[in-house]
């Protein structure tokens, strides 16, 4: 166990790059243009040092200290000096999570004030921003209350459990003028930034289809203390419709955001299907889903997700008539790959001449399988944590007092279209977005 923790720490240190390390590398590789091309990175991309004065310190509270909340805290604690961040308070209704998070802080000689009720935190603490990493159904009312109190909000995706709650969060952001930053970390990921620059420059040609999938092979359950029936829904909230849309809000919301970002627009309709085909264990959310989102130029975003096979893992494939980008594996494929060396072609032709080709299904038909071509990396250096980079971004926006509106809109549109996808599956109909949810 100790070894595992140590290995994890070493891995974290190896992969961890602060904003300044990252910017230095980007400058060396001539990729600063990539940063300039992304509106939400203007404040983030300034190379000046973050002031270390107490007056410039960003005071943050974390509401929701479960697995994701703790992961974000690890980054915050790594960033506390370079980004002049202070974690001053923690809040969770579940004491084991709260105490675990407090222990993480104590190990770094930080003693945040602990709360079980976020309204107490808002009343007693003066914080600049909050990180919300609670279960999905609690995002909206906490975020709205924080923004009404004048506090900037970083909220994990997806935004909210219902479309009305999602809209309420957006309206609170507009009326309060507070930052509402939704945790779509790919927006800060250099692989995506460089890939999107190429897509938007037309390097991969006209987009025809976008495909994405997220396949896992596990039951998605977390252990419940003493197998208590009362705690089941509390711990495994992702499996119950009251709290979550399952694969859609937990996984797909990231990928529809990537599709919208690539196309620089939102869909016009969605159709889909889903079922519980494998994990018939009392859960309410589907364990496999398939959806098609259509855009006004005829482009389709085709999506599927499942939890009983992981051969294909996770990917977003952006397919243009000149090339393909696969973001998760950091690959770019041109439609006209460079020819093999002449000597190899000669050997292959001689082999074909000697042994002929195997015909399947008739003398004139050959299977149209993809040619073996490994493509090339989109960027070379991938030693970074996009979640850490986006938290640094959030801190820099708080200092500036505002965040680019495009950032909030990306989160909003991803959430709204995710929930509309859920409705399309439930109704079995092709749905368009009701006018009241357009922003």
């Amino acid at each position: 166990m100790f070894n595992q923790v140590l290995k994890y720490k070493i891995y974290m240190q190896d992969k961890f790059q602060s904003r300044r390390d990252f910017l230095k590398k980007m400058a060396l590789t001539g990729s600063m243009v990539t940063l300039a091309a992304s509106p939400w990175l203007n404040a983030f991309g300034q190379t000046s040092m973050v002031g270390q004065n107490p007056s410039e310190r960003v005071r943050l509270a974390v509401i929701g200290t479960g697995s994701r909340g703790k992961q974000l805290m690890r980054f915050l604690l790594e960033l506390k000096t370079t980004s002049n961040i202070d974690v001053v308070a923690l809040c969770d209704v579940y004491d084991p999570h709260l105490q675990g998070a407090a222990k993480m802080c104590n190990e770094q000689n930080i003693t945040p004030v602990l709360y079980n009720n976020y309204t107490d935190l808002l009343t007693k603490e003066k914080v600049d921003g909050v990180i919300i990493a609670t279960p999905l159904h609690q995002h909206a009312h906490i975020a709205v209350d924080c923004m009404k109190e004048g506090i900037h909000v970083f909220c994990e995706k997806s935004m909210a459990r219902t479309m009305d709650d999602t809209k309420a969060m957006y309206e609170a952001h507009i009326s309060s003028g507070r930052i509402l930053h939704i945790g779509h970390q790919r927006l800060f990921n250099p692989v995506y930034l460089e890939g999107m620059k190429r897509i938007h420059n037309g390097d991969i040609g006209q987009l025809g289809q976008l495909r994405a999938y997220w396949h896992r092979n596990n039951d998605w359950r977390r252990p419940v203390p003493d197998n208590s029936v009362e705690m089941e829904r509390f711990i495994n909230w992702r499996l119950y419709k009251e709290y979550s849309a399952g694969l859609l809000t937990e996984l797909m919301s990231h990928q529809i955001q990537v599709a919208n970002w690539a196309l620089q627009k939102t869909p016009i309709s969605v159709t889909g299907t889903g079922s519980i085909v494998f994990w018939k264990d009392g859960r309410e959310v589907n364990d496999n889903v398939a959806l098609i989102y259509s855009y006004d130029d005829g482009t389709q975003f085709i999506y599927d997700s499942m939890t009983s096979n992981k051969k294909y893992g996770l990917e977003e494939q952006i397919m243009g008539h000149k090339g393909t980008i696969e973001f998760e594996t950091n690959r770019y494929f041109t439609e006209t790959p460079p020819a093999a060396p002449g000597i190899i072609q000669l050997i292959n032709d001689m082999e074909s001449g000697f042994f002929g080709k195997a015909m399947i299904g008739g003398a004139s038909w050959m299977p149209e399988t993809a040619a073996t071509y490994n493509g090339e990396p989109i960027i070379e250096d991938t030693d970074f944590y996009d979640s850490a980079l986006q938290l640094e971004g959030f801190a820099s926006y708080i200092r500036a007092g505002k965040a680019p509106e495009a950032l909030t809109r990306e989160g909003y549109n991803a959430s709204i279209w995710t929930l509309l996808g859920e409705a399309a599956i439930e109704t079995g109909e092709k749905l368009t977005l009701p006018e009241k949810y357009r922003i």
Binding site: P341, G342, I343, I344, Q345, L346, I347
Partner: protein, 81 residues
């Protein structure tokens, strides 16, 4: 046990045969570059393949020479009878 003596002239001959194989492989590479209209950089960038082909040709030459030796021996044995 019969002793096998490899003389200097044997070595020179084998080296010469491999050299011919290497030249043949280079000619094959040149033919491939012209035929498939690829870059002349491949003259040296694909040198690894050229060396491999030259070794294969050299090994093939053992088979050819062995065959001729066998035929030659059979003919001389028939003439002795």
């Amino acid at each position: 046990m019969k002793k096998i003596i490899i003389t200097g002239s044997h070595l020179k001959r084998e080296f010469f045969i491999w050299l011919l194989s290497f030249i043949a492989a280079i000619i094959l590479n040149i033919y491939a570059i012209v035929n498939y209209e690829t870059s002349w950089v491949e003259l040296y960038s694909q040198i690894g393949y050229v060396v491999m082909i030259s070794i294969m040709l050299y090994i093939a030459s053992w088979g050819i020479r062995g065959f001729f030796l066998l035929v030659k021996n059979l003919i001389s044995k028939r003439d002795e009878k």
